[in-house]
Protein backbone atom coordinates (compact mmCIF):
# COMPACT_ATOMS: atom_id res chain seq x y z
CA UNK A 1 0.00 0.00 0.00
CA UNK A 2 1.16 3.52 -0.74
CA UNK A 3 2.02 5.95 1.99
CA UNK A 4 -0.81 8.25 0.93
CA UNK A 5 -3.40 5.50 1.29
CA UNK A 6 -2.07 4.42 4.65
CA UNK A 7 -2.16 8.02 5.77
CA UNK A 8 -5.77 8.49 4.67
CA UNK A 9 -6.76 5.28 6.42
CA UNK A 10 -5.00 6.46 9.55
CA UNK A 11 -6.88 9.77 9.44
CA UNK A 12 -10.14 7.78 9.33
CA UNK A 13 -9.05 5.66 12.29
CA UNK A 14 -7.97 8.78 14.17
CA UNK A 15 -11.38 10.37 13.57
CA UNK A 16 -13.04 7.26 14.96
CA UNK A 17 -10.73 7.36 17.98
CA UNK A 18 -11.86 10.90 18.73
CA UNK A 19 -15.48 10.31 17.75
CA UNK A 20 -16.13 7.57 20.30
CA UNK A 21 -15.33 9.63 23.45
CA UNK A 22 -16.79 12.75 21.80
CA UNK A 23 -20.07 10.96 21.17
CA UNK A 24 -20.11 9.84 24.81
CA UNK A 25 -19.75 13.50 25.81
CA UNK A 26 -22.47 14.82 23.49
CA UNK A 27 -24.97 12.24 24.69
CA UNK A 28 -24.41 13.23 28.33
CA UNK A 29 -24.30 16.97 27.67
CA UNK A 30 -27.67 16.84 25.93
CA UNK A 31 -29.18 15.04 28.93
CA UNK A 32 -27.67 17.58 31.34
CA UNK A 33 -29.02 20.48 29.22
CA UNK A 34 -32.53 19.37 28.42
CA UNK A 35 -33.22 16.58 30.92
CA UNK A 36 -35.17 16.90 34.16
CA UNK A 37 -33.34 16.97 37.49
CA UNK A 38 -34.34 14.48 40.20
CA UNK A 39 -33.09 13.90 43.73
CA UNK A 40 -32.39 10.28 44.69
CA UNK A 41 -31.73 9.53 48.34
CA UNK A 42 -28.55 7.53 48.61
CA UNK A 43 -25.72 6.09 50.67
CA UNK A 44 -22.08 6.08 49.50
CA UNK A 45 -19.44 3.35 49.98
CA UNK A 46 -15.85 3.36 48.72
CA UNK A 47 -14.41 1.00 46.08
CA UNK A 48 -11.91 1.71 43.29
CA UNK A 49 -11.29 1.14 39.59
CA UNK A 50 -7.89 0.41 38.00
CA UNK A 51 -8.30 2.67 34.96
CA UNK A 52 -10.75 5.35 35.90
CA UNK A 53 -9.64 6.16 39.43
CA UNK A 54 -11.51 6.24 42.71
CA UNK A 55 -15.24 6.35 42.90
CA UNK A 56 -17.90 5.87 45.51
CA UNK A 57 -20.66 3.38 44.89
CA UNK A 58 -24.08 4.79 45.66
CA UNK A 59 -26.74 2.55 47.07
CA UNK A 60 -30.14 4.15 46.54
CA UNK A 61 -33.10 4.10 48.84
CA UNK A 62 -35.31 3.73 45.78
CA UNK A 63 -34.59 0.09 44.92
CA UNK A 64 -37.94 -1.68 44.86
CA UNK A 65 -41.44 -1.25 43.51
CA UNK A 66 -44.72 -3.12 43.90
CA UNK A 67 -45.88 -4.75 40.69
CA UNK A 68 -48.26 -7.55 39.75
CA UNK A 69 -46.26 -8.71 36.71
CA UNK A 70 -44.54 -11.92 37.72
CA UNK A 71 -42.39 -12.75 34.74
CA UNK A 72 -38.98 -11.19 35.48
CA UNK A 73 -35.46 -12.35 34.70
CA UNK A 74 -32.22 -11.34 36.39
CA UNK A 75 -30.28 -8.50 34.73
CA UNK A 76 -33.23 -7.71 32.48
CA UNK A 77 -33.81 -4.06 31.49
CA UNK A 78 -36.82 -2.54 33.21
CA UNK A 79 -38.37 0.94 33.00
CA UNK A 80 -39.29 2.44 36.36
CA UNK A 81 -41.84 5.28 36.38
CA UNK A 82 -40.86 7.88 38.95
CA UNK A 83 -42.34 10.96 40.65
CA UNK A 84 -41.38 13.31 43.45
CA UNK A 85 -42.73 12.81 46.97
CA UNK A 86 -43.81 15.64 49.30
CA UNK A 87 -40.18 16.31 50.35
CA UNK A 88 -38.98 16.54 46.77
CA UNK A 89 -37.22 13.18 46.60
CA UNK A 90 -37.82 10.50 44.00
CA UNK A 91 -40.18 7.60 44.63
CA UNK A 92 -40.85 4.66 42.31
CA UNK A 93 -44.42 4.26 41.06
CA UNK A 94 -44.50 1.29 38.71
CA UNK A 95 -42.33 -1.00 36.61
CA UNK A 96 -42.75 -2.12 33.01
CA UNK A 97 -40.77 -3.86 30.30
CA UNK A 98 -41.94 -1.45 27.63
CA UNK A 99 -41.10 2.25 27.55
CA UNK A 100 -43.86 4.15 29.41
CA UNK A 101 -45.79 6.57 27.21
CA UNK A 102 -46.48 9.19 29.87
CA UNK A 103 -44.61 10.58 32.85
CA UNK A 104 -40.96 10.43 33.84
CA UNK A 105 -39.12 7.14 33.95
CA UNK A 106 -35.64 5.72 34.28
CA UNK A 107 -33.98 2.59 32.92
CA UNK A 108 -32.85 0.08 35.57
CA UNK A 109 -31.74 -3.54 35.97
CA UNK A 110 -33.84 -6.28 37.55
CA UNK A 111 -32.32 -7.88 40.64
CA UNK A 112 -35.05 -10.27 41.74
CA UNK A 113 -38.78 -10.51 42.18
CA UNK A 114 -40.41 -11.65 45.38
CA UNK A 115 -43.70 -13.42 44.65
CA UNK A 116 -44.70 -13.43 48.30
CA UNK A 117 -45.15 -9.67 48.60
CA UNK A 118 -45.16 -8.81 44.86
CA UNK A 119 -42.09 -6.61 45.11
CA UNK A 120 -39.59 -6.17 42.31
CA UNK A 121 -36.05 -5.28 43.40
CA UNK A 122 -33.95 -3.38 40.89
CA UNK A 123 -30.66 -1.50 40.72
CA UNK A 124 -30.21 1.92 39.14
CA UNK A 125 -27.35 2.09 36.63
CA UNK A 126 -25.95 5.49 37.69
CA UNK A 127 -24.37 4.18 40.88
CA UNK A 128 -20.74 5.26 40.42
CA UNK A 129 -19.64 8.75 41.40
CA UNK A 130 -16.00 9.61 40.64
CA UNK A 131 -14.05 11.69 43.12
CA UNK A 132 -10.51 12.88 43.66
CA UNK A 133 -8.61 9.92 45.04
CA UNK A 134 -8.02 11.39 48.50
CA UNK A 135 -11.66 12.31 48.93
CA UNK A 136 -13.48 9.10 48.07
CA UNK A 137 -13.03 7.42 51.43
CA UNK A 138 -13.60 10.65 53.35
CA UNK A 139 -16.89 10.99 51.51
CA UNK A 140 -18.09 7.71 52.96
CA UNK A 141 -17.09 8.86 56.47
CA UNK A 142 -18.70 12.26 55.99
CA UNK A 143 -21.96 10.63 55.00
CA UNK A 144 -21.90 8.38 58.05
CA UNK A 145 -21.29 11.40 60.29
CA UNK A 146 -24.03 13.45 58.68
CA UNK A 147 -26.34 10.49 59.17
CA UNK A 148 -26.05 10.80 62.95
CA UNK A 149 -27.59 14.28 63.20
CA UNK A 150 -31.30 15.06 63.43
CA UNK A 151 -32.48 14.58 59.83
CA UNK A 152 -33.11 10.94 58.81
CA UNK A 153 -31.20 10.76 55.50
CA UNK A 154 -29.76 13.94 54.16
CA UNK A 155 -27.54 12.55 51.39
CA UNK A 156 -28.94 12.58 47.88
CA UNK A 157 -27.76 12.32 44.27
CA UNK A 158 -28.79 14.91 41.70
CA UNK A 159 -29.60 13.03 38.50
CA UNK A 160 -30.66 14.43 35.13
CA UNK A 161 -33.02 12.19 33.21
CA UNK A 162 -34.17 12.33 29.61
CA UNK A 163 -36.09 9.54 27.87
CA UNK A 164 -35.01 7.04 30.51
CA UNK A 165 -31.29 7.75 30.14
CA UNK A 166 -29.68 9.31 33.18
CA UNK A 167 -26.57 11.30 34.01
CA UNK A 168 -25.42 11.53 37.61
CA UNK A 169 -24.47 15.15 38.10
CA UNK A 170 -23.48 15.47 41.74
CA UNK A 171 -23.97 14.10 45.24
CA UNK A 172 -25.05 16.37 48.11
CA UNK A 173 -24.87 16.08 51.88
CA UNK A 174 -27.06 18.61 53.69
CA UNK A 175 -27.44 20.51 50.40
CA UNK A 176 -23.64 20.89 50.04
CA UNK A 177 -21.81 19.13 47.17
CA UNK A 178 -20.02 16.14 48.64
CA UNK A 179 -16.54 17.21 47.40
CA UNK A 180 -16.90 20.55 49.18
CA UNK A 181 -18.45 18.94 52.25
CA UNK A 182 -15.43 16.64 52.60
CA UNK A 183 -13.00 19.57 52.51
CA UNK A 184 -14.62 21.22 55.51
Amino acid sequence: MKRKHIFILFILVAIAQIAVPAQMIFGRESILKSGTAFKFKTEPVDPSDPFKGKYIILSYDVDNVKTDDKDWQRQQDVYISIANDSLGFVKAISASIEIPKVGDFVKANVNWYSERDNILRFSLPFNEFYMEETKAYDAELAHRKAQRDSLPNNTYALVYIKNGDAVLNNVFINEIPIATFVEK
Partner: protein, 428 residues
Protein backbone atom coordinates in the same frame (compact mmCIF):
# COMPACT_ATOMS: atom_id res chain seq x y z
CA UNK B 1 27.25 -13.74 19.74
CA UNK B 2 28.72 -11.80 16.83
CA UNK B 3 30.93 -9.70 19.00
CA UNK B 4 32.03 -12.78 20.88
CA UNK B 5 33.30 -14.29 17.66
CA UNK B 6 35.09 -11.08 16.73
CA UNK B 7 36.74 -11.05 20.14
CA UNK B 8 37.96 -14.58 19.54
CA UNK B 9 39.55 -13.65 16.21
CA UNK B 10 42.97 -12.48 17.53
CA UNK B 11 43.24 -15.65 19.54
CA UNK B 12 42.43 -17.81 16.54
CA UNK B 13 44.94 -15.85 14.46
CA UNK B 14 47.67 -16.21 17.07
CA UNK B 15 47.17 -19.96 17.21
CA UNK B 16 47.24 -20.20 13.43
CA UNK B 17 43.74 -21.63 13.18
CA UNK B 18 42.72 -19.11 10.50
CA UNK B 19 44.63 -16.80 8.21
CA UNK B 20 44.66 -12.99 8.40
CA UNK B 21 42.56 -12.88 5.26
CA UNK B 22 39.84 -15.08 6.68
CA UNK B 23 39.86 -13.07 9.90
CA UNK B 24 39.26 -9.78 8.16
CA UNK B 25 36.59 -11.38 6.01
CA UNK B 26 34.75 -12.61 9.08
CA UNK B 27 35.07 -9.20 10.70
CA UNK B 28 33.71 -7.46 7.61
CA UNK B 29 30.82 -9.87 7.42
CA UNK B 30 29.66 -9.22 10.97
CA UNK B 31 30.17 -5.47 10.77
CA UNK B 32 28.02 -5.37 7.65
CA UNK B 33 25.37 -7.43 9.32
CA UNK B 34 25.33 -5.09 12.29
CA UNK B 35 24.78 -2.12 10.02
CA UNK B 36 21.61 -3.68 8.69
CA UNK B 37 20.04 -3.91 12.14
CA UNK B 38 21.04 -0.60 13.62
CA UNK B 39 18.23 0.59 15.85
CA UNK B 40 16.79 -2.54 17.38
CA UNK B 41 17.86 -1.39 20.81
CA UNK B 42 16.46 2.02 20.05
CA UNK B 43 13.09 0.43 19.21
CA UNK B 44 13.02 -1.53 22.44
CA UNK B 45 13.71 1.51 24.57
CA UNK B 46 11.32 3.65 22.54
CA UNK B 47 8.50 1.19 23.11
CA UNK B 48 9.38 0.79 26.77
CA UNK B 49 9.41 4.57 27.19
CA UNK B 50 6.04 5.01 25.50
CA UNK B 51 4.61 2.19 27.56
CA UNK B 52 5.64 3.82 30.81
CA UNK B 53 4.60 7.32 29.79
CA UNK B 54 1.23 6.02 28.55
CA UNK B 55 0.55 4.12 31.74
CA UNK B 56 1.70 7.12 33.77
CA UNK B 57 -0.79 9.37 32.00
CA UNK B 58 -3.61 6.94 32.78
CA UNK B 59 -2.65 7.02 36.46
CA UNK B 60 -2.28 10.80 36.64
CA UNK B 61 -5.68 11.31 35.05
CA UNK B 62 -7.22 8.71 37.36
CA UNK B 63 -6.41 11.01 40.29
CA UNK B 64 -9.53 12.88 39.20
CA UNK B 65 -8.72 16.54 39.56
CA UNK B 66 -11.63 18.10 41.38
CA UNK B 67 -10.39 21.65 40.98
CA UNK B 68 -10.68 21.69 37.21
CA UNK B 69 -13.91 22.65 35.52
CA UNK B 70 -15.62 20.03 33.43
CA UNK B 71 -14.51 21.69 30.18
CA UNK B 72 -10.86 21.69 31.31
CA UNK B 73 -11.09 18.03 32.21
CA UNK B 74 -12.63 17.23 28.85
CA UNK B 75 -9.82 19.12 27.11
CA UNK B 76 -7.26 17.15 29.14
CA UNK B 77 -8.98 13.91 28.17
CA UNK B 78 -8.39 14.58 24.51
CA UNK B 79 -4.96 16.19 24.74
CA UNK B 80 -2.84 13.03 25.07
CA UNK B 81 -4.94 11.30 22.41
CA UNK B 82 -4.37 14.08 19.89
CA UNK B 83 -0.65 14.25 20.70
CA UNK B 84 -0.39 10.50 20.17
CA UNK B 85 -2.22 10.78 16.86
CA UNK B 86 0.12 13.55 15.73
CA UNK B 87 3.15 11.38 16.48
CA UNK B 88 1.68 8.48 14.54
CA UNK B 89 0.66 10.69 11.62
CA UNK B 90 4.15 12.16 11.57
CA UNK B 91 5.85 8.78 11.49
CA UNK B 92 3.58 7.53 8.72
CA UNK B 93 3.90 10.65 6.62
CA UNK B 94 7.67 11.04 7.01
CA UNK B 95 8.19 7.28 6.61
CA UNK B 96 10.07 7.15 9.85
CA UNK B 97 11.97 4.11 11.09
CA UNK B 98 10.42 1.18 12.89
CA UNK B 99 11.53 2.62 16.21
CA UNK B 100 9.35 5.67 15.57
CA UNK B 101 6.36 3.67 14.44
CA UNK B 102 6.49 1.19 17.31
CA UNK B 103 6.90 3.86 19.99
CA UNK B 104 4.28 6.25 18.65
CA UNK B 105 1.86 3.36 18.16
CA UNK B 106 2.36 2.17 21.73
CA UNK B 107 1.80 5.67 23.06
CA UNK B 108 -1.37 6.13 21.00
CA UNK B 109 -2.65 2.75 22.22
CA UNK B 110 -2.57 3.91 25.82
CA UNK B 111 -3.98 7.37 25.16
CA UNK B 112 -7.04 5.81 23.48
CA UNK B 113 -7.75 3.94 26.68
CA UNK B 114 -7.10 6.94 28.90
CA UNK B 115 -9.38 9.27 26.94
CA UNK B 116 -12.36 6.89 27.12
CA UNK B 117 -11.70 6.28 30.81
CA UNK B 118 -11.50 9.98 31.58
CA UNK B 119 -14.71 10.80 29.76
CA UNK B 120 -16.56 8.11 31.71
CA UNK B 121 -15.04 9.55 34.86
CA UNK B 122 -16.11 13.12 34.11
CA UNK B 123 -19.70 12.12 33.39
CA UNK B 124 -19.90 9.36 36.04
CA UNK B 125 -20.70 6.77 33.37
CA UNK B 126 -20.96 3.45 35.18
CA UNK B 127 -18.26 1.22 33.85
CA UNK B 128 -18.73 -2.18 32.37
CA UNK B 129 -15.08 -3.19 32.17
CA UNK B 130 -15.50 -5.62 29.27
CA UNK B 131 -17.31 -3.08 27.07
CA UNK B 132 -14.62 -0.53 27.86
CA UNK B 133 -11.80 -2.89 26.88
CA UNK B 134 -13.70 -3.95 23.76
CA UNK B 135 -14.05 -0.33 22.58
CA UNK B 136 -10.37 0.19 23.28
CA UNK B 137 -9.42 -2.85 21.18
CA UNK B 138 -11.65 -1.92 18.25
CA UNK B 139 -10.21 1.60 18.12
CA UNK B 140 -6.58 0.49 18.34
CA UNK B 141 -6.57 -2.70 16.28
CA UNK B 142 -6.21 -0.96 12.88
CA UNK B 143 -2.91 0.54 14.10
CA UNK B 144 -1.32 -2.94 13.91
CA UNK B 145 -1.62 -2.89 10.13
CA UNK B 146 -1.23 0.83 9.48
CA UNK B 147 2.06 0.92 11.39
CA UNK B 148 3.04 -2.74 10.95
CA UNK B 149 3.66 -2.56 14.67
CA UNK B 150 4.51 -5.63 16.73
CA UNK B 151 4.20 -3.77 20.01
CA UNK B 152 0.62 -2.70 19.27
CA UNK B 153 -0.17 -6.26 18.16
CA UNK B 154 1.14 -7.68 21.45
CA UNK B 155 -0.73 -5.07 23.50
CA UNK B 156 -3.91 -5.84 21.58
CA UNK B 157 -3.47 -9.53 22.14
CA UNK B 158 -3.11 -8.95 25.88
CA UNK B 159 -6.19 -6.71 25.86
CA UNK B 160 -8.21 -9.28 23.87
CA UNK B 161 -7.25 -12.04 26.28
CA UNK B 162 -8.16 -9.80 29.20
CA UNK B 163 -11.50 -9.03 27.57
CA UNK B 164 -12.23 -12.73 27.09
CA UNK B 165 -11.46 -13.47 30.74
CA UNK B 166 -13.60 -10.56 31.89
CA UNK B 167 -16.57 -11.81 29.85
CA UNK B 168 -16.05 -15.54 30.28
CA UNK B 169 -14.84 -15.94 33.84
CA UNK B 170 -17.02 -13.31 35.47
CA UNK B 171 -17.29 -13.97 39.15
CA UNK B 172 -20.63 -13.85 40.86
CA UNK B 173 -22.90 -13.46 37.88
CA UNK B 174 -23.24 -15.81 34.93
CA UNK B 175 -20.31 -15.84 32.53
CA UNK B 176 -20.97 -15.80 28.82
CA UNK B 177 -18.81 -17.38 26.16
CA UNK B 178 -16.56 -14.70 24.66
CA UNK B 179 -17.21 -15.45 20.99
CA UNK B 180 -15.88 -12.04 19.96
CA UNK B 181 -12.49 -13.22 21.21
CA UNK B 182 -12.25 -15.55 18.21
CA UNK B 183 -13.16 -12.76 15.79
CA UNK B 184 -10.54 -10.42 17.23
CA UNK B 185 -7.83 -13.07 17.31
CA UNK B 186 -8.64 -13.76 13.65
CA UNK B 187 -8.12 -10.05 12.98
CA UNK B 188 -4.63 -10.20 14.47
CA UNK B 189 -3.77 -13.46 12.67
CA UNK B 190 -2.76 -11.86 9.32
CA UNK B 191 -0.09 -9.86 11.13
CA UNK B 192 1.25 -13.05 12.72
CA UNK B 193 1.12 -14.84 9.37
CA UNK B 194 3.16 -12.07 7.78
CA UNK B 195 5.76 -12.41 10.54
CA UNK B 196 5.95 -16.17 10.04
CA UNK B 197 6.32 -15.77 6.31
CA UNK B 198 8.86 -12.96 6.12
CA UNK B 199 10.62 -12.99 9.51
CA UNK B 200 10.66 -16.66 10.36
CA UNK B 201 13.78 -16.40 12.49
CA UNK B 202 13.18 -13.06 14.17
CA UNK B 203 12.95 -12.99 17.95
CA UNK B 204 9.67 -11.14 17.66
CA UNK B 205 8.15 -14.09 15.80
CA UNK B 206 9.08 -16.49 18.55
CA UNK B 207 7.42 -14.19 21.10
CA UNK B 208 4.23 -14.60 19.10
CA UNK B 209 4.85 -18.35 18.92
CA UNK B 210 4.51 -18.31 22.68
CA UNK B 211 1.78 -15.71 23.10
CA UNK B 212 -0.70 -17.33 20.71
CA UNK B 213 -0.87 -20.71 22.47
CA UNK B 214 -0.72 -18.96 25.86
CA UNK B 215 -3.72 -16.81 25.06
CA UNK B 216 -5.69 -19.78 23.67
CA UNK B 217 -4.91 -21.83 26.77
CA UNK B 218 -6.06 -19.05 29.09
CA UNK B 219 -9.28 -18.39 27.22
CA UNK B 220 -10.49 -21.89 26.29
CA UNK B 221 -11.93 -22.42 29.76
CA UNK B 222 -14.24 -19.45 29.24
CA UNK B 223 -16.11 -21.52 26.67
CA UNK B 224 -17.02 -24.09 29.29
CA UNK B 225 -20.65 -23.41 30.03
CA UNK B 226 -22.71 -26.03 31.86
CA UNK B 227 -20.98 -29.30 31.16
CA UNK B 228 -17.75 -28.72 33.02
CA UNK B 229 -16.95 -32.46 32.83
CA UNK B 230 -16.08 -31.95 29.19
CA UNK B 231 -13.69 -29.10 30.03
CA UNK B 232 -10.86 -31.58 30.52
CA UNK B 233 -11.47 -33.14 27.13
CA UNK B 234 -11.56 -29.68 25.50
CA UNK B 235 -8.23 -28.74 27.04
CA UNK B 236 -6.64 -32.06 26.11
CA UNK B 237 -7.80 -31.62 22.51
CA UNK B 238 -6.42 -28.05 22.46
CA UNK B 239 -3.03 -29.16 23.79
CA UNK B 240 -2.95 -32.00 21.30
CA UNK B 241 -3.69 -29.51 18.51
CA UNK B 242 -0.91 -27.22 19.74
CA UNK B 243 1.48 -30.19 19.85
CA UNK B 244 0.58 -31.22 16.32
CA UNK B 245 1.07 -27.64 15.11
CA UNK B 246 4.45 -27.64 16.84
CA UNK B 247 5.32 -30.82 14.99
CA UNK B 248 4.82 -29.23 11.56
CA UNK B 249 8.34 -29.11 10.08
CA UNK B 250 8.12 -25.31 9.80
CA UNK B 251 8.12 -25.08 13.61
CA UNK B 252 9.78 -28.39 14.43
CA UNK B 253 12.97 -27.49 12.58
CA UNK B 254 13.43 -24.37 14.66
CA UNK B 255 15.08 -24.31 18.05
CA UNK B 256 12.98 -25.83 20.80
CA UNK B 257 12.82 -22.60 22.81
CA UNK B 258 11.25 -20.82 19.83
CA UNK B 259 8.56 -23.47 19.46
CA UNK B 260 5.98 -22.47 22.05
CA UNK B 261 3.37 -24.71 20.45
CA UNK B 262 5.34 -27.89 21.03
CA UNK B 263 6.26 -27.08 24.62
CA UNK B 264 2.78 -25.89 25.54
CA UNK B 265 1.23 -28.92 23.88
CA UNK B 266 3.54 -31.44 25.46
CA UNK B 267 3.40 -30.02 29.00
CA UNK B 268 -0.36 -29.52 28.69
CA UNK B 269 -1.03 -33.09 27.57
CA UNK B 270 1.10 -34.53 30.37
CA UNK B 271 -0.45 -32.35 33.08
CA UNK B 272 -4.00 -33.02 31.89
CA UNK B 273 -3.51 -36.77 31.72
CA UNK B 274 -1.74 -36.91 35.07
CA UNK B 275 -4.69 -35.07 36.62
CA UNK B 276 -7.07 -37.58 35.13
CA UNK B 277 -5.04 -40.57 36.27
CA UNK B 278 -6.48 -40.16 39.76
CA UNK B 279 -9.09 -42.63 40.82
CA UNK B 280 -11.69 -40.10 41.89
CA UNK B 281 -11.71 -38.25 38.61
CA UNK B 282 -13.70 -40.84 36.72
CA UNK B 283 -16.93 -40.71 38.66
CA UNK B 284 -18.81 -38.46 36.31
CA UNK B 285 -22.28 -37.43 37.27
CA UNK B 286 -23.91 -36.56 34.02
CA UNK B 287 -23.20 -36.42 30.38
CA UNK B 288 -25.29 -35.18 27.49
CA UNK B 289 -24.44 -34.52 23.91
CA UNK B 290 -26.43 -31.43 23.15
CA UNK B 291 -24.16 -28.90 24.85
CA UNK B 292 -21.82 -26.14 23.76
CA UNK B 293 -18.87 -28.11 25.14
CA UNK B 294 -19.66 -31.06 22.89
CA UNK B 295 -19.58 -28.84 19.82
CA UNK B 296 -16.34 -27.14 20.82
CA UNK B 297 -14.78 -30.55 21.51
CA UNK B 298 -16.00 -31.86 18.15
CA UNK B 299 -14.51 -28.90 16.31
CA UNK B 300 -11.18 -29.32 18.11
CA UNK B 301 -11.23 -33.06 17.38
CA UNK B 302 -11.86 -32.48 13.68
CA UNK B 303 -9.10 -29.85 13.58
CA UNK B 304 -6.70 -32.34 15.18
CA UNK B 305 -7.69 -35.08 12.78
CA UNK B 306 -7.51 -32.79 9.77
CA UNK B 307 -4.04 -31.59 10.69
CA UNK B 308 -2.89 -35.17 11.23
CA UNK B 309 -4.23 -36.34 7.86
CA UNK B 310 -2.63 -33.33 6.19
CA UNK B 311 0.69 -34.09 7.87
CA UNK B 312 0.42 -37.69 6.69
CA UNK B 313 -0.27 -36.68 3.11
CA UNK B 314 2.76 -34.39 3.21
CA UNK B 315 4.91 -37.23 4.53
CA UNK B 316 5.72 -35.46 7.80
CA UNK B 317 4.85 -38.40 10.03
CA UNK B 318 8.06 -40.38 9.60
CA UNK B 319 8.35 -41.83 13.09
CA UNK B 320 5.54 -42.88 15.37
CA UNK B 321 5.01 -40.37 18.17
CA UNK B 322 2.29 -41.26 20.66
CA UNK B 323 1.78 -37.60 21.62
CA UNK B 324 0.34 -36.92 18.18
CA UNK B 325 -2.29 -39.65 18.37
CA UNK B 326 -3.21 -39.62 22.04
CA UNK B 327 -6.26 -37.44 21.41
CA UNK B 328 -8.02 -40.22 19.47
CA UNK B 329 -7.52 -42.76 22.26
CA UNK B 330 -8.51 -40.23 24.81
CA UNK B 331 -11.69 -39.02 23.13
CA UNK B 332 -12.85 -42.63 22.75
CA UNK B 333 -12.11 -43.27 26.38
CA UNK B 334 -14.03 -40.19 27.39
CA UNK B 335 -17.13 -41.04 25.41
CA UNK B 336 -17.27 -44.78 26.12
CA UNK B 337 -15.53 -45.25 29.44
CA UNK B 338 -17.35 -42.56 31.34
CA UNK B 339 -19.23 -44.57 33.87
CA UNK B 340 -16.75 -47.37 34.25
CA UNK B 341 -14.17 -45.75 36.51
CA UNK B 342 -11.87 -48.70 36.74
CA UNK B 343 -11.32 -48.82 32.97
CA UNK B 344 -10.80 -45.09 32.71
CA UNK B 345 -8.26 -45.02 35.51
CA UNK B 346 -6.25 -47.98 34.30
CA UNK B 347 -6.24 -46.82 30.68
CA UNK B 348 -5.12 -43.32 31.59
CA UNK B 349 -2.33 -44.63 33.81
CA UNK B 350 -1.10 -46.80 30.97
CA UNK B 351 -1.25 -43.79 28.66
CA UNK B 352 0.94 -41.70 30.94
CA UNK B 353 3.43 -44.55 31.16
CA UNK B 354 3.44 -44.92 27.37
CA UNK B 355 3.91 -41.15 26.93
CA UNK B 356 6.85 -41.21 29.33
CA UNK B 357 8.49 -44.05 27.45
CA UNK B 358 7.80 -42.34 24.12
CA UNK B 359 9.49 -39.19 25.37
CA UNK B 360 12.51 -41.12 26.63
CA UNK B 361 12.81 -42.78 23.24
CA UNK B 362 12.61 -39.45 21.41
CA UNK B 363 15.28 -38.07 23.72
CA UNK B 364 17.53 -41.07 23.12
CA UNK B 365 17.06 -40.92 19.35
CA UNK B 366 17.84 -37.21 19.25
CA UNK B 367 20.69 -37.46 21.78
CA UNK B 368 18.91 -34.77 23.77
CA UNK B 369 19.44 -35.00 27.53
CA UNK B 370 16.66 -32.50 28.24
CA UNK B 371 13.99 -34.53 26.45
CA UNK B 372 15.27 -37.79 27.91
CA UNK B 373 15.02 -36.51 31.46
CA UNK B 374 11.65 -34.92 30.73
CA UNK B 375 10.40 -38.43 29.91
CA UNK B 376 11.82 -39.74 33.16
CA UNK B 377 10.17 -36.91 35.06
CA UNK B 378 6.80 -37.85 33.52
CA UNK B 379 7.19 -41.38 34.86
CA UNK B 380 8.36 -40.08 38.24
CA UNK B 381 5.32 -37.85 38.44
CA UNK B 382 3.10 -40.81 37.65
CA UNK B 383 4.69 -42.90 40.36
CA UNK B 384 4.44 -40.05 42.84
CA UNK B 385 0.76 -39.61 42.11
CA UNK B 386 0.10 -43.32 42.63
CA UNK B 387 2.07 -43.13 45.84
CA UNK B 388 -0.76 -41.15 47.34
CA UNK B 389 -3.93 -42.78 46.14
CA UNK B 390 -3.36 -46.51 45.94
CA UNK B 391 -3.34 -49.16 48.58
CA UNK B 392 -0.15 -50.76 47.40
CA UNK B 393 2.10 -51.98 50.17
CA UNK B 394 5.02 -49.78 51.15
CA UNK B 395 7.48 -52.36 49.85
CA UNK B 396 6.08 -52.24 46.34
CA UNK B 397 5.92 -48.46 46.35
CA UNK B 398 9.49 -48.29 47.63
CA UNK B 399 10.69 -50.67 44.95
CA UNK B 400 8.95 -48.56 42.29
CA UNK B 401 10.83 -45.49 43.42
CA UNK B 402 14.12 -47.35 43.47
CA UNK B 403 13.54 -48.57 39.93
CA UNK B 404 12.68 -45.14 38.61
CA UNK B 405 15.71 -43.66 40.36
CA UNK B 406 17.94 -46.31 38.84
CA UNK B 407 16.31 -45.51 35.51
CA UNK B 408 17.52 -41.92 35.81
CA UNK B 409 21.10 -43.04 36.44
CA UNK B 410 21.21 -45.76 33.82
CA UNK B 411 19.59 -43.96 30.90
CA UNK B 412 21.69 -40.85 31.40
CA UNK B 413 24.84 -42.93 31.82
CA UNK B 414 24.17 -45.02 28.71
CA UNK B 415 23.46 -41.93 26.67
CA UNK B 416 26.58 -40.16 27.91
CA UNK B 417 28.65 -43.16 26.91
CA UNK B 418 27.02 -43.38 23.53
CA UNK B 419 27.65 -39.71 22.94
CA UNK B 420 31.30 -40.09 23.85
CA UNK B 421 31.77 -43.01 21.50
CA UNK B 422 30.06 -41.00 18.78
CA UNK B 423 32.41 -38.08 19.28
CA UNK B 424 35.33 -40.52 19.22
CA UNK B 425 34.18 -42.07 15.99
CA UNK B 426 33.71 -38.61 14.47
CA UNK B 427 37.28 -37.71 15.39
CA UNK B 428 38.76 -40.68 13.59
Amino acid sequence: MNSKLIKELPDLLANDVISQEVASKIEDYFLNKQDQTPNRLFTVFGVLGSLLVGLGIILILAHNWDDFARSTKTFLAFLPLVIGQCFVAFSIWKKKSNAWKESSGTFLFFTIGSSIALVSQIYNIPGNLSTYVLTWIVLSLPLIYLLKSNAVAILNMIAITYYACEVGYSFGSFGESPWLYLVMMALIAPHYYRLLKHHKNANMTSIFNWLFPLSLTIVLGAFVDQLSELGFLMYLLLFSLLYNIGKIPFFDEQKLRRNGYLIFGSLGIVIMILTMSFDGFWYLERFFFNAQETYVSTILFIANLGLLIYSYSKGWLKTFNLFQYIFVLFSMLYVFGLNIPIIGTIAVNLMVLALGITTIKIGADKFHFGILNYGLIIITALVTCRFFDTNMSFVIRGLLFVFVGLGFFLTNYIMLKKQKSRVESLKH
